[in-house]
Amino acid sequence: MRSFLQSIFGKAKPKQVRILPQDVTITVDPGQTLLEAALANGVAYPHDCTVGTCASCKTRLKQGSVREATPFGYTLSKAELDAGYILACQAVPRDELTVVEIDPPSAEMPVAEKFSATVVATEPLTHDILKVTVRADRPVHYVAGQYASLRVPGSSRFRCYSFANAPQRKGRADLEFYIRKVPGGEFTEALFRGELDARPLEMEAPQGAFHLRGGGAPMVCIAGGSGLAPLISILEHARVNRIKRDCTLLFGARTQGDLYQLDVIRNIAANWQGEFRFIPVLSHEPDASSWTGARGLVTEQIDPRFCKGAEGYLCGPPPMIDAAIERLVGHGVPLEKIFYDKFTDGRND
């Protein structure tokens, strides 16, 4: 009886929420959702729509119970509901202490499957890189940073290309890749000549373990050539989910004509939470040109100032990766915090 009266007339006891893996405990005001309280306390919580429909804020409830402002079942599947997932943007804690855990993206690595895919659009990005849009026979689930293996039926081997656009919760049927022409390469020569347009390809996806780790550490992203693709996928996905981390993107290319998707990068930067630094570096730009940006090797532009406490995400040709790792380690980034995807092609065999 006393607690009943207290609940009506007494001052409400403040509710606490403990957020893992950061292990931060915050106070949630009456009527506030978990997400609102987290953001108000400076916790970088993934989110996007704030109305309970995109599942970016999907969180595992480990202890306590919550009220659903909007039913989670409008967006989450039965399996997710049964596994104890909630939507932080619509969850209002009921108990004095609630414990929740934000899953890292790798928790959802889907199993690779076989698809049939057809080239539906191509767009030259530079003189030797093509943006290829491929339509799969059904939506593909993948984690940003992963890749697909493509093969022309009857051909001897698969070629691997990273997904260049962000994954979608319901899976994505239209997939973008940035494909560089390999001189004399069987697959890319045919592709660039348009011989593969509208022809069904065999695809195995998703593959690879390259992905953005959880947490709020600053990111140092280094892309060489077509290695920009998985980084764009990761950055787009992070941007949509309002992940708040400082990010430095170094993009190494030979000349100005080899820079591409600058509009996309600009858009990410404009909408990024936290600081976003974009540093294009040209190695073979003529001295007399109008280029006022950085010159030389991209790895030479890795500055110790943005390496403090950072994680490294590297994609590009093996020599670039090796040099970048050496540089990052030299600036104090532990080896286990450096993640990479080495881009090899026919020339490296």
Binding site: G52, P71, G73, R266, N267, F278
Partner: protein, 376 residues
């Protein structure tokens, strides 16, 4: 303080309408008279793109609550008027139209504001305030459909180019009801209940309508019930017009993030006040937690005329197209759309039989919110 007072404009209009119903006779025209009066006034007043400096949530929300609670009150007073004043047929019709109009504006903005809140009472009142336009299940389809899919072909609230108001409204009503039923049923099934068990919000929505009509019957008999129901049905169709004017012709690639350009904003002075900033729309889609008085107008957005003027113009499709929306879309396509959106827009224009107005600067569009990049 003046900022707080300005938002009493909507409840004040409702109070005047209610007094008009109470007075009967020619005063019954006040409610529907507000529609063209506000349109003209809004067209004459300058645009307002200022932010509000309001800090008190309580005082800011008081007019929103008043506007919502006035909705059933105005129906009840009209019902009483039908039963006690000697209204002519024309006056009854005026009353019906007036009720429908006020149910739409400020009915929709006020209830929308409350049901987006996180407080239980606010959401409850916001939900059932919508009985005025027969849509107590709206909040579900609004967040799942509209917020998630806005601007894409999957959003039932975004009108494709070439679709006139009448066809859009008819389709929206059907689709929104279908979605409302399905969403709740799917959720219940996932939770292990029957799809249409008593837990489905449908039953409570029907109960609300029955209770509402019972009160109206008690006040004004079957005539009042008939007239009020007519009003509510008209309002049910008319509320879809809000979406028509706020999202007509917009295109967005499915899965691409929602950006400020993916809505139409109406910064008329009265548009903002009378509709509790629902026309200050860009920020709302980016962050639905923001209460109306904290929304920041998008100064880079294409300028649209008063929302009330739009409401009038939509009745005459050629007028809406030529005077308002085509010029806006032409500018949007050429200056705001991303390359992928330009392709979608081009296709929609073609299907609508509109001219090709692209200035063919693929890839060189100016994006107003693009900063200069730090080089090196």
């Amino acid at each position: 303080m003046w900022d707080y007072i300005k938002y009493y404009f909507a409840p004040m209009v409702q109070v005047l309408a209610i007094l008009g119903f109470y007075g009967g006779g020619h005063y019954t025209w006040i409610a529907i008279g507000a529609f063209p009066a506000i349109a003209i006034l809004d067209a004459l007043l300058p645009l307002d793109q200022a932010e509000r400096k309001m800090k008190s949530h309580f005082w800011a929300y008081l007019p929103v609550w008043m506007a919502t609670l006035s909705l059933p009150v105005m129906y009840f007073v009209f019902a009483w008027s039908v039963g006690n004043n000697d209204l002519t047929g024309l006056q009854m019709a005026a009353g019906v139209m007036g009720l429908a109009w006020l149910s739409v504006v400020p009915g929709v903005p006020a209830t929308h504001e409350l049901y987006h809140s996180r407080g239980r009472l606010a959401r409850f009142v916001g939900r059932y305030g919508q009985v005025a336009f027969l849509d107590c299940m709206r909040m579900e389809v609004h967040v799942v459909g509209h917020h998630r899919d806005v601007g894409t072909a999957e959003d039932i609230d975004t009108a494709a180019r070439g679709l006139n108001l009448y066809r859009f409204v008819a389709r929206s009503v059907v689709e929104s009801v279908r979605w409302e039923l399905k969403l709740d049923a799917d959720n219940l099934e996932k939770r292990g209940y029957g799809r249409y068990s008593i837990r489905h919000s449908l039953w409570r929505a029907l109960l609300a309508i029955v209770v509402f009509q019972a009160v109206i019957y008690a006040l004004g008999g079957w005539t009042a019930v008939g007239l009020c129901l007519t009003s509510m049905v008209i309002a049910r169709f008319w509320v879809e017009a809000f979406n028509y004017y706020q999202h007509f012709g917009q295109v967005r690639v499915v899965g691409a993030p929602i950006e400020k350009r993916h809505v139409w904003n109406h910064y008329g002075t009265l548009s903002r006040l009378y509709a509790f900033e629902i026309t200050n729309h860009a920020d709302h889609h980016l962050n639905s937690y923001i209460p109306y008085y904290k929304l920041v107008p998008d100064r880079e957005a294409i300028i649209m005329p008063s929302i009330i003027v739009c409401f009038l113009s939509g009745f005459i499709p050629p007028l809406w197209y030529s005077a308002i929306i085509k010029p806006a879309l032409k500018r949007w396509d050429n200056e705001y759309a991303s390359p992928a959106e330009r392709r979608l827009a081009r296709e929609q224009n073609r299907q609508a039989g509109w001219e090709d107005w692209f200035d063919d600067q693929d890839g060189r569009v100016t994006r107003p919110d693009a900063p200069s990049m730090a080089h090196g």
